[in-house]
Amino acid sequence: MTPVLQTVRLTHRYSEGTPFERVAVDSVDFSAQRGEFIAVIGHTGSGKSTFIQHLNGLLKPSSGSVLFDGKDIHSSKEFTRQVRFRVGLLFQYPEYQLFEETVYRDIAFGPKNMKLKDDEVDERVREAAGFVGLGEEILGKSPFDLSGGQKRRVAIAGVIAMRPEVLILDEPTAGLDPGGREELMENILRYHDGGKRTVIYITHSMEDAARTAQRIVVFNHGHIAMDGTPREVFRRGFELIQMGIIVPQITRVMMRLRELGLDVDDSVYSVDQAIAALRETKGGGDRA
């Protein structure tokens, strides 16, 4: 099957030809199949944010290429523009990009740029707003009068109103409290719709990555250092820690238990998995 997105030896250098030149992404081969839910992790400066900005053509590779459905996204101007709408990209703290007089018009910005007909735009705006749980009464308000959490939802609606086949998000939950984080992750999962659409998201929260992604890609120094299921990745906990990545708390406890001599599976990362793993070690324990 042709991957929906693929990078071939993708390299990006900043400030090329100046003394400040540095390689942010170094010869990365990556591919995402339609319907995948991928979490991208890595410490700050590992190149992950630069990497994802290539996936919808915002940044041009210094060398190498990015393919959408097998076709180079920079093969023609027309195609680059098309890809920009088919691969939706949501930046960090997206609430700071809001600018229109009303929430409605802000969400409509993307669809209008797609040159859709008015009734089509209208339908998409209402659908996207409903999707992130913004009620009718909010659509007429100024986005600047909303709370922080609501603003973020407007920004997300603005991207999903373009109905991208691939949704890419850069730390969508940054700065939200646990409640807000939970809601947002649910929205993203719903957009993924059990594999009808593709989702790639950057996160610092290993707990979030572990909970939702089927596949985790770890960036380190501009390279992909690991790529696999959450269990495969968390099995290499010590390597992750060396890369400056904080592993989930449950994994840390299990790693420590192993160190202490308990033969327990330390690739687990959720409470349920931990309970199962602990049961396996003993098949009982000291119940009162």
Partner: protein, 280 residues
Amino acid sequence: MSTIIKTEKLVYTYEGAEAPTLRGLDLEIEEGTFVAVLGHNGSGKSTLAKHLNGILIPTSGRVLVDGMDTAEEQNLLAVRHTVGMVFQNPDNQIVANVVEDDVAFGPENLGIEPREIRRRVDDALTSVQMYEYRNHAPHLLSGGQKQRVAIAGILAMKPRCIVLDEPTAMLDPVGRGEVLDTITRLNRQEGITVILVTHHMEECIGADRLLVMSEGSILMDGSPRELFPRVEEMEAAHLGVPDTTRLMYALNREGYQLPLEAITTEECAQALLRAFGHKE
């Protein structure tokens, strides 16, 4: 020990708001303690923080800093000298283009003698482990480093108490760790009173005292060890209970008797080892 901050029936209503954000808080904070204030967005925790050095003045009730009423204009400088404040966005509290000049800003405002400022700036930067960055431009630092510079800027004023209003909200896990280590050290080694406002329960583990806020009131008040086990109440206050606590809580429901007050990774692992380890 003496009381450094005291609030009496503190009520605050934002202009144009119908309901008060703080609903009559009575609070006393001992000098030298590390207090964590935990609450979800909108619980009133930041509003409380802003009262502690006179950024906000109570609608009714009083806030006393070292006995001084923050509502009285002539106390304001002394109040702010006693209680320093670190904010959420590291970019928006750094005034100068060079790290050490920024750290000097506070003491300069206090009219301290130049040589003494130099000494304080060097000490403060050393204390947050940013001394080697003293000549750097702040915008080139990482979030965690910027936040440590902001802390140094407060430290150089030699306050007795530092209030940090969600200082880690915009940081990555590494930066978060740096900031937490720094403030814990300041509290333990230099005896500075620390009030940390956060919505991450994990960040409260090292605190002496934990205040859980909800709907403008203090819902719970006790040591983290006393409060962490109260999982249902924490969840009712829209707080994410750490996975380790959740794990032990779930196991206890199956009949184990794990100590929910084991809140660090190490304590949790030890507790699990005792329950699941093979008997010699």
